[in-house]
Point group: D2
Chain length 325, copies 4
């Protein structure tokens, strides 16, 4: 198997482009001008929330080494019925209260730039040891403080192929990506947020967790998946750099072909995008309803607005991005 | 002390207005038309994220019976240094991973409509027992699935009064609210999301948690606060109804005068807004930078976009709303 | 399927035996005299700890609707290496710190008497509504404040049958129990803590979690198991009552034949023992090493000492009982 | 302030005494013979459970940087009333279920030997980096697998001084310890588990959390305490070594004079005992009732049996030790 350190020895990066202290990466592309460009993409006022449910009774889609969210209720009508809460100071209103116990990568989220690294260096050269006990550098709060607002483009590969969902382990090439954009009639002007639809997440919610893991699980490793997606090649990375892509979103857990057929390793595009280019990877994005609307009127762009949670030192920022058409 | 059941016996409500099964309440006002109206408020493309940090080293502002967020790192450079994670399948990339343990009301959040009730009925008449073990009705996922997108108006009462932050226990009257809007030169057309600034949260972040609790704590009850804000009167509730306010946001933990000088009880406006009118209350919204920008150019409106977490059955939806001017 | 309310309509109970306020149940049998009797069973000074590991890398055995424990490290050499902890006040010592996130029934534990009920009444007649939000009555702290100390007897049914572990869904009858005790040469004098060995837990640790769930899972219900064990009959319950058994322990997750062949329902012996007789049921007790020692010298009794965690209002008390021979 | 590395440069240790792979330390002293010696100390059959409550409504005593336990109920009569749990397969029994979220040092616990270190080495020379992400060496499971069983001796310094509880910051000298033992008429034969009573924990439960932190808090550091206790001197450490003390327990959070008047640093005895000698330090042990009984009949010894939770890689093992007289 390839070592990422060698694989990416000559890969392009954005280190230093926005200063030596920059922890925001390619989100720097999203200037006020780009926000206005995104706003300009709105026509009908339809909105779509792209997050997945947290704590759904049928289970949450997660990478096998993570657990679904816990949801704990500390007060409800039952505790009040039992006389355990003094509601007199509140004029006898009832009230319910709760907590969530949540893997930051266990629901729709933007990866922090410091989530993945190699050669002991994070994005922009920060020491990997700064990750110990929480990201001191390139943590989720940088993504969240800035927010992600701009023009987004949907690349609906499932529809392009005419399938409900791509199969396990399938690869999407750069040519297919461009072919799909072409057929959709979308031109990239640069700095677009990309939304890649494989149909995998729709399959999870239509068929259930068991069917999903049966289809996309890795029979050789119980701790991994074999999702379909794009993968690392020098051309792919250059394409991301040249298009000044600030954020890449997909409707899968891993956002790329999990086991790359190029390298034989797991998720090699992550270090190339997150650590080298500073592109924010966004996973578990629900795209079905948006895709339906795009297909209906042939308009594949939208204003994308995401305000993820500002988890200080977080390795990811849970989110529920909003698409406005 | 007043019993809310009597206090609100004749209060106006929106039950049935959007059907007997409605769990969305006043967010129904936010139609595509209102979204476009909000989009029309954008001029410069400046963005502001209104969420507070989660797990900040100086502490998170919370109601005394709740705890600040826990942030637990399960993998970092340290675990890799110690040889505890097999990174070979990943081509030897490093990776960090974590969880959060979070009171849904313990950070910036939208209250679920089912968060507060009286007379054993939630908004739209649902049985309060449906709250047991998690909201089966009017849970946070309804707010989150819809999202909150529309024109928002800032009401900067702190600036209007010329103070850094309102004092503990102070009341903001309807007249003052209207006077402030007037001075700001804002006209409400109806269906605006309201952002009320008291400066309390800015005080927390400027002076620290100890100073905040010293100033706004209730010396008679260690389990309560005495924040300033608007409070319940029949006129206030009618004003919310007549203006078809979909969501009310404030930069405090309780979003109203915590101990109402009208009723002597804690947070009586909550049941009137959430349970009767279905207005989403939003707390711990950080407004300092937005307020600065509004004051600078005298434009107090913006496009407000919030995609909070879709916690199924949640009593609140943690959020990081984005304001776009 | 049988309704437990009808099944146990005429079942014997210990309600009122130790007063109307008693929340301790059959542990009342464990007087100082019984403690001395237990102490008298010690001969060699060998000790055995009967708890299972928590957070083992190969997984923890749990009922399918519960999750294995989470273990979160908040400080270690890695955080110190990264300069994130000021160790100067400690004279530069290093220090590690952590939390566990644990289902009380998700490891070796004693059930609280209030864990299971029917006809809206807990043990000794307490209102079932007192369970809301945590056991106000018959919670785990009662077991834990008292502790469980006395003479215990091992009933090694696996060895008696000459099998490594009983099969899924198998039943152990009262006759077999008595036959086993007889063959072991043990006479019950009354008030003994019973330790029933099926070998199931040994199978889990020898063969791994997947093999265990394959063997003992319920192919018809992913949310249940089909473990072997004793089950409810009127005679079994009378036997427990007549022998004044204070606590019953087994090396399975459910401590009885999960799906009773008598009733067709799940775990009907639980309400008969916990709620009617006040007998503490103890699950996930590791018995392999103790059984080995007992078989070696033919002595099947020991001093049993358990000090479980005093979780106030808990539905179970996690424990690591110690057997001293 | 003294650096522990220099302070303990010539301190005695037990490294290698029980082999290069030993992770059990001074608990090795607790052989079967010592167990029998402990059993021999039982006369009346009285039992005392020494753990503190977890999740008590009045709060749990914790070091300021840790949080009290969380207790989350996932099922109760309320969820059943609301029809949210299908109890039909269970013959309509009711059932309650819950979790705890617990700092391992946030309740009565035995420190793992790897909890504290210096010079990058744990007890017996293991690399401190093995602590990263959980103790690979000298974790809590070693204490818990072995259990702690032996003769224990109470040293009731509070009673010796004739005070209810020692004051903040007070020191207990070796001479006082010996004087107290002498007055109690106890002779140490070696290998005794020591139980030191200052009365601090009794003060917590008698006067409440606020009074406790007022009295024992450090006015100069909100993240520390100033509890009374013994402290490091070469003589103290030699005394522990010469007496072959396996475990040292106290009724305080820190088990020693928190800020040592010898060194000016916080808890310097911890590294000397845990890391050098392998003596298990045990904190938050409730001793009031046991002390009462000892004083009543002048017998200050007991059989001590602790089976703490087997948290794999834990930095401490929560426990509820049982004393049998």
């Amino acid at each position: 198997m390839v070592d990422v350190s060698e694989l990416l020895a000559d890969a392009p990066d954005n280190w230093g482009r926005w200063g030596d202290d920059d922890e925001l990466g390619a989100l720097n592309w999203l200037t006020a001008g780009e926000v206005l460009r995104g706003v300009g993409a709105v026509e009908t006022g339809e909105t779509f929330t792209l997050g997945v449910p947290i704590g759904a009774s049928d289970g949450d889609p997660v990478w096998p080494t993570r657990a679904p969210a816990g949801h704990y209720v500390t007060q409800d009508q039952g505790t009040i019925d039992a006389g355990k809460r003094d509601r007199e100071p509140f004029g006898h209103t009832g009230s319910a209260d709760d907590l969530v116990h949540l893997h930051t990568h266990g629901t729709t989220h933007h990866d922090a730039l410091g989530h993945v690294w190699y050669d002991d260096r994070l994005y922009n050269g920060f020491d990997a040891r700064t990750t110990n006990g929480g990201l001191e550098r390139c943590g989720a709060e940088h993504v969240a403080n800035h927010g992600i607002v701009g023009r987004a483009v949907l690349v609906d590969v499932a529809r392009y192929r005419g399938v409900r969902a791509l199969d396990a382990d399938e690869r999407i090439t750069l040519e297919e990506l461009e072919g799909c954009l072409d057929e959709q009639g979308v031109e990239l002007g640069g700095r677009e947020i990309l939304l890649l639809r494989t149909g995998c997440l729709d399959y999870f919610y239509a068929e259930g967790a068991d069917a999903f893991y049966d289809r996309y699980g890795d029979s050789e490793r119980s701790d991994a998946l074999l999702e379909p997606g794009i993968t690392y090649t020098p051309e792919v990375v250059e394409w991301f750099r040249d298009n000044e892509v600030p954020a890449f979103c997909a409707d899968t857990i891993t956002a790329e072909q999990t086991r790359s057929e190029e390298t034989g390793t797991l998720i090699p595009l992550h270090p190339a995008l997150l650590r080298d280019l500073g592109v924010v990877i966004t996973e578990l994005v629900r795209l079905d309803a948006l895709a339906e609307a795009c297909a209906a009127d042939g308009r594949y762009e939208c204003l994308f607005v995401s305000g993820p949670l500002k988890i200080v030192g977080g390795t990811a920022a849970p989110a529920n991005p909003v698409a406005i058409r």
